[in-house]
Symmetry: C2
Subunit: 137 residues, 2 copies
DNA sequence: ATATGGCCTCCACCCACTGGAAGGTCAAGC
DNA sequence: GCTTGACCTTCCAGTGGGTGGAGGCCATAT
């Protein structure tokens, strides 16, 4: 396990923040290319692999899907990319986030209002259950 | 297929808004009790079953998990329930929604700011990719 | 010599469905 | 009476993004 840059999957995991199991999963999904193998069949990683893993980690934290990350990685690796293409991906994702936030907020407000109207005591009467059982148009 | 109230799964689906496949799935998961069967092995539903399905549908629309719905259904069926218990479930879910909304909003703002700083032209320079590749502490 | 811990593969499971294949049932139309 | 088509039945597989565990090899310290 020598070599200045060489790392096992566990070290790459610690260094990138992506769990070892997840790294294998990404490899299987084709998100990262299959790692080189040592003589003992252990996967070997270098700084550039770890860089890619960190990129993926950050993109996941920002809510991009693996499919979107695949596209982002392609742009990342392409020196002749147009920032326009990256921006389009990002803005599409912002739209999706706005949509989700709006929906969750709507649900949240509905439910908070129902809870506000519920006495929350020992009696069975409950506007929340009454809402749930009400037939909708 | 006689009987004033009797319905097939397709009619129950149309009447409740829960797809037939999903009704079978709920039965398998034990969320609803196994439907009666006709001589031809078709599932039979009545208004009360449809009412339960509508309840589930509405609760799903409000973002409750099947596990939470299981508890809500138990409270719904229990005439001696305390509205306190329903309210507690609802408020816990509101908290969870608030948490999710806050996280998505944080992500959304981060990404929108990165996109704002990106020229979005034909050149490769891109603050979004620069952010993604940046090592984190 | 063995105990620990890391690595390997493979399979199963999570959530909440959804799609599809293969086959049974029923009413209507010719 | 036979076909057609719309239902219904079961079972199996896949989605997304992993996580957990079994069973076994490898490396190092005691």
């Amino acid at each position: 396990m020598k070599g200045k840059e060489g790392m096992t999957i566990g070290q790459a995991a610690a260094s990138s923040g992506v769990p070892a199991k997840t790294i294998r999963f990404y490899e299987e999904r084709g998100l990262v290319k299959p790692a080189e193998r040592l003589a003992n069949r252990y996967r070997a990683y270098d700084e550039s692999n770890v860089q890619t893993l960190r990129f993926i980690r950050r993109a996941r934290d920002l809510g991009f899907s693996l499919q979107e990350i695949d596209k982002l990685l392609a742009l990342y690796r392409n020196r002749r990319r147009a920032s326009e293409d990256v921006k389009r991906l990002a803005l599409a994702h912002v739209c999706e986030l706005d949509r989700k936030i709006a929906e969750l907020t709507r649900i949240r407000d509905t439910l908070a209002e129902l809870a506000r109207r519920c006495h929350g005591d020992q009696r069975p009467e409950c506007p929340i259950l009454e809402d749930l059982e009400r037939p909708r148009p």
